[in-house]
């Protein structure tokens, strides 16, 4: 945890309602940090439907392997998350640590090991001492309470400077349902996905396959459209649980992804995912600015996203933002290197409402002062129109500062 809070932190945090069917507890297991909580237990007293999206790294962590193997069972009773150690690239010891943690959890909660989900975040390559969990899980299960979302978000932080929480309510067939989410992440944040852990829970009654479909669809324009440093973690985990408690109010279980009753729920879920994703970007290590980069007029939505991410991941674009420099030449550079179709002479670029370039050259009415005023803001909208087709995408990133270098130059020590 950094000493000071990101200047881009939310001014206020959402008030997180308790959510029927899920309870949480945190503890200090002493994995790495001193004097702070570093383990979260999330308990579903009745089996919850479960869906997950994980890192695309070819070298995933042991907990990611563990979750992937359990997911086809479709049912969750417990989630254990620790910060301080990622249990990644730990070989056989890593697998043993996940097995031991799952066993301890199953005993504490009274469930099967394949109803347990695990996530770890922190240093890679250090063996995780899972015996530290077994001593605390029993009392955590007893103490767990529903009104604990903010504390839960705090326990999973690593270099985060603030906890990330979000909540929305909507209805399914006239029955009110709620979606609560927490997330952590600040560096090694790039699409598909990040050292990013996020756990979202709803009291709606939705079948696992439907939940997976909603999550897989929702992740594209949200978590998979944000990048801090282009580095993809071995541990990225986004899970969605449905406790089904709303069935008690008469909500009829959703069994099909095409169910028309889902429209409000889908929008609310995507809102929660976007809210959390943007909070992660705004806590980007060393960040002082957030850039919202929109590319329009591309050959396809996929091409627009590739170009937007090329801009968002460019160290030269990001350092220019840090320096409040309206350096649109670097935007051109990043469009050019993306490899997608672009016609230099049709390109137009805006910072905020200031069009700085059009038809392949500087806008005749360009005002350096007006552009510089946009760059002085904390939130900088960048728009690029390629003038080729209807493809569009929006991604989010932060600036690259000396503080990022400082944070990552001695993270392990």
């Amino acid at each position: 945890m950094s000493g000071s809070v990101s200047p881009l932190a939310p001014k206020t945090f959402a008030t997180m309602p308790a959510l029927r069917g899920v309870r949480m507890a945190t503890a200090s297991a002493g994995i790495k940090y001193k004097n702070r909580t570093d383990v979260l237990l999330m308990v579903f007293d009745k089996p919850a439907s479960v869906a997950g999206v994980f890192t695309r790294s070819k070298c995933p962590s042991a907990p990611v392997d563990f979750c992937r193997a359990n997911l086809p069972h479709g049912s969750a009773r417990a989630v254990v998350v620790n910060s301080g150690n990622a249990n990644a690239f730990t070989g056989l010891k890593g697998r043993q640590a996940t097995e031991l943690t799952a066993k301890s959890t199953a005993v504490a909660v009274g469930c099967s090991e394949n109803e347990v989900y695990l996530a770890s975040t922190g240093v890679i390559g250090e063996p995780l001492d899972a015996t530290k969990f077994s001593g605390v899980l029993g009392s955590m299960h007893t103490e767990a309470t529903g009104d604990f979302w903010f504390e839960a978000a705090k326990a999973i932080m690593t270099t985060d400077t603030y906890p990330k929480v979000a909540t929305r309510s909507t209805d399914i067939g006239g029955v009110t349902v709620t979606i609560n989410g927490i997330a952590k992440g600040a560096g090694m944040i790039a699409p598909d996905m990040a050292t990013m852990l996020s756990f979202v829970v709803t009291d709606a009654d939705i079948a696992p396959a439907v939940l997976q479909s909603l999550l897989s669809e929702g992740v594209g324009p949200t978590f998979n459209s944000m990048t801090v440093d282009s580095d993809t973690s071995t541990s990225d985990t986004l899970m969605l649980f449905a406790t089904g408690a709303a069935a008690a109010d008469g909500q009829v279980r959703v069994e099909h992804a095409g169910d028309a009753r889902l429209s409000g729920f889908r929008a609310a879920l995507n809102d929660v995912l976007k809210d959390l994703a943007i909070q992660v970007v705004r806590d980007g290590e060393g960040a002082t600015k957030m850039l919202e980069i929109t590319v329009t007029g591309a050959e396809s939505d996929a091409a627009a996203k590739t170009i937007a991410l090329s801009i968002a991941n460019s160290p030269l674009v990001k350092t220019a933002a840090a320096g409040e420099d309206a350096n649109w030449g670097r935007i051109v550079m990043a469009v050019g290197k993306a490899g997608e179709m672009a016609d230099r002479d049709r390109l137009a670029i805006w910072f905020g409402d200031v069009r700085v370039a059009v038809n392949g050259e500087r806008d005749a009415s360009y005002s350096e002062e007006a552009a510089s005023n946009v760059m002085k803001r904390q939130d900088i909208p960048v728009k690029v129109d390629l003038g080729l087709g209807n493809g569009r995408a929006t991604v989010w990133t932060c600036d690259l500062t000396k503080e990022y270098v400082a944070i990552n130059g001695d993270y392990r020590s």
Copy 2:
């Protein structure tokens, strides 16, 4: 130009011999910088064979378009290079500037406009005032001299902290020939290629198609295997000229790429390209360390290069190097995100001779102190063995420091 010279600068510079058939002059045209040379004229008194490799940016600069159009003519009489302004993304004005420069050059040198080659480096998006060249080219042509390589290298610098020169001699069929090269580049340096300009000249007599084949082949393991910041310039230009003066000593013109007499020349050319490329990396903006990253045991050479570049471009690997942190977990991360086949449990990683990880976990005999000692060096060899096949590749990069952020946070101002 930065105020202080890179700590990785060569201790001594090569003594560059004059090379028959080419003369150079520099001038201060006042493009952007004050009190320094910013234009280079290279003259071939007899038509030289020419080959070129250019940026793969979809938004190339006007001079790149100009050179590409002239290249099929195969013959060069003059090269004009300016620093301070890239003449990129300057629309119709950009094309007019290249045409005016070519016309002025053709008049000054007494050649056709399609025997002129142009390159510009510096700020993108600002119109280039080409009338500034016309006043100086005539006297430059008169004053041009063969013994001017070091001054030529200085005139094309932008944020470079030292000029880059290299020379090798070899023979073709028993006749001694020489290859001289200069380069510039320090940031916006990434494969395919960089804000990287390089001009290499030999007195050998070689046909243009053969020259192109040699250059296209040589660029892969040299300039296209180095990266400073993953950002690809709109202006990257590498050109190779053969004046043919060695014909006077009896060298019979090389007409075929398969000519067995080329073996020594090919090796010497690749040496010059590699020497210049490494000098560019060592002048990476803010660099304090050079990393030589070798990946072996990949499924193919191409897969090895993709993985090596993923490591080389990772901000987290580069900041760890800046912090002298033997953070091999970030190497695992970068292998995993590359998208190429990797088996976590077969991976082995070395810093220098210190094996830090093997079979998917920390080496049992790993010594943090020994690894840290390697990280304290200026030159850090990193080796990754994937244990899958015979593919291998080596790439070069530098660390990411606060100074990089400082240099690029206010470059335009």
